[in-house]
Symmetry: C2
Subunit: 345 residues, 2 copies
DNA sequence: CTGAAAGCGCTTACAG
DNA sequence: CTGAAAGCGCTTACAG
């Protein structure tokens, strides 16, 4: 059962372990003869280098950690898939960890990745940069943020513009005559949650729409919080005519409640989702959403961490987000189809 | 930048590395005095044991590999999430890898996991058991199959019954008067693909329904193959009145095509999906599906690999699958609502 | 081009 | 209870 080591290969090939190592790792100082003998021996024996021993000696690994908030969130699943495939093309293995939208679990996995001595960590961070994240940074382990950032923590990041999509969505709804727009906001421990809420408030002010605190509900980027928020919004004495949710899972929660209550999306209530998850296009009516590009994000995050690892300058990138108008938004109820009506609903 | 080692901790605490190691790993043979001094020193220095060195010495790691077919498939995302959380509770870290429904990529990651010297591997396998998988097995690395199996390869597995759900679905459709049922089958390189197709054929025969080879299309468990199959089925001179797909992604592909063609699900064409993915419940009409339990599968697979690792007997388990009737299945077009009509459509 | 030797950071018999 | 020493499987200056 004992695994075959480089000594076994060396013995089989009739050379020293040093020579075997050189051949196997492509070091130029090897003879034709050694090369063929060692390669052959390794093949015959089914030699599989011990990555642990190798990285212990070389004091760096070829593995990166990818710490995401929720693997079941299709948005992050897309990031995971593309980051992994992209890393693989550069011969980098990816250790995928799931923080489950919990700062504690994020710390736990950060510790784990540190113990595994990964070469670098791509993380969709949470919290204020205290805890294990601070440690990681002071240890000098390369870190790249993806999707989210932390104020005051200066690491390269690939994010998307959280403003333009929301701004576009509010303008679109205002143009349809909506004056009371409900927001299911994300958790304020995340930069995306904060920025989207901020953009929303600003847009509401700009368009002179109802700035009612009851119209904003803080969720946690998970389905149930979206459902809860939808129920509260709909139970308001003066409910909104349109609802915007700050991520795909909360959008699903909203849609679930609307179905339960028999409220028709698009006609009874306008809905704008977030993240252009495939399922939203298969919905009827097809959802109007704020779209950005998780696939590209994942690949760029890997590029960024490679830049850092290879000592190249790493420049943060902000991807665009934009409104994709489909069928789930329509004229505000009671206002006809005339945009900007004088009266209120 | 150099990481702090156990020698640093030992020096700081004024003991030997051996004692420091014993304290840190909870060995009983330590004095009260050493314990407090070492623990304190480790805390002060922010000591983080090098997992590589540890596992090199102990020749086993506390990490398992989880090799799934497609992380973007919500079914597998559920397995991944639950397996990981469950493993974590036992202090086991999970290396999640994505085979991307490709046997080559499966081999690549198997090699990688072997190099990482994971304690064991949970895999949703593909292919015939040749290639790296055979090597893994002959090396004696503990393996557990999840969701799928390979004929003739005897490892513990947690799967679900691929028969009962399909059988129930065909019976249900036959009861609604359908005689021509289309199947978007899974790839025949997978046990699930084979078993579901087999169950379908048998059920068709039992109910005496149209056994037309044109009604069966082989897909690859991905969205586009579902769409392609749907188009071909609908373009048949004598198209089916109901369609059954063998996984969630292909079901999505089918639904996409129906929407494009303006075919109403449930009334124009009955659809039975596979995997009770949340999105199917948010659909309108809500989808009738064959449901099984990925969350439980993930957790059980971890239990199984722990059994193997701890030397306990590991017993394979087969979970149930069952038909959940919702709104996407209705009477066959042209047959009225009378079940088992004499005439054909 | 090649080999002997040291060392990466741990753990664990072996003595005491 | 404690320490010195060996060793896990590699890689890499250092000589030759």
């Amino acid at each position: 059962m004992r695994a075959v080591t480089i000594h076994d290969v060396a013995a089989e090939a009739g050379v020293s372990a040093a020579t075997a190592s050189r051949v196997l790792s492509g070091h130029p100082a090897t003879s034709e003869e050694s090369r063929t003998r060692v390669t052959e021996a390794a093949r015959r024996l089914g030699f599989r280098p011990n990555a642990q021993a190798r990285s212990l000696r070389k004091s760096h690994t070829n593995t990166i950690g990818l710490l995401l908030s929720d693997v079941r969130n299709p948005f992050f699943a897309d990031i995971a898939h593309n980051a992994e495939q992209h890393a693989l093309e550069s011969g980098i293995a990816t250790l995928l960890c799931n923080a489950n939208e919990s700062t504690e679990q994020q710390d736990l996995y950060l510790d784990l990745l540190l113990s595994q001595r990964v070469a670098g960590i791509i993380v969709a961070p949470q919290g204020d940069g205290a805890g294990s994240l601070r440690e990681v940074l002071t240890l000098g382990v390369p870190v790249v943020f993806v999707d989210r950032t932390i104020d005051g923590v200066d690491v390269p990041s690939v994010t998307s513009d959280n403003r333009s999509g929301i701004t576009g969505a509010v303008a679109h709804l205002a143009g349809l005559g909506h004056r009371r727009i409900g927001l299911v906001a994300g958790p304020q421990e995340t930069s995306t949650g904060r920025e989207r809420l901020e953009a929303f408030r600003q847009a509401i002010a700009e368009h002179g729409l109802d700035d009612d605190p009851d119209l904003v509900h803080l969720g946690d980027f998970q389905v149930t919080s979206g459902a809860r928020a939808a129920n509260q919004l709909l139970d308001l004495p003066h409910p909104p005519t349109a609802v915007l949710a700050a991520d795909s899972l909360m959008t699903f929660g909203v849609l679930e409640v609307l179905r339960e209550r028999g409220i028709r999306v698009g006609s009874d209530l306008s809905v704008v989702g977030y993240d252009d998850v495939a399922a939203f296009r298969w919905f009827s009516p097809q959802l109007t959403v704020v779209a950005h590009d998780p696939a590209r994000m994942g690949a760029l995050a890997v590029d960024l961490i490679r830049d850092v690892l290879d000592g190249r300058p790493a420049r943060s990138v902000v991807l665009e987000s934009s409104l994709v108008v489909r069928e789930s938004t329509g004229p505000a109820l009671g206002t006809g189809s005339v945009p900007h009506p004088a009266g209120r609903q």
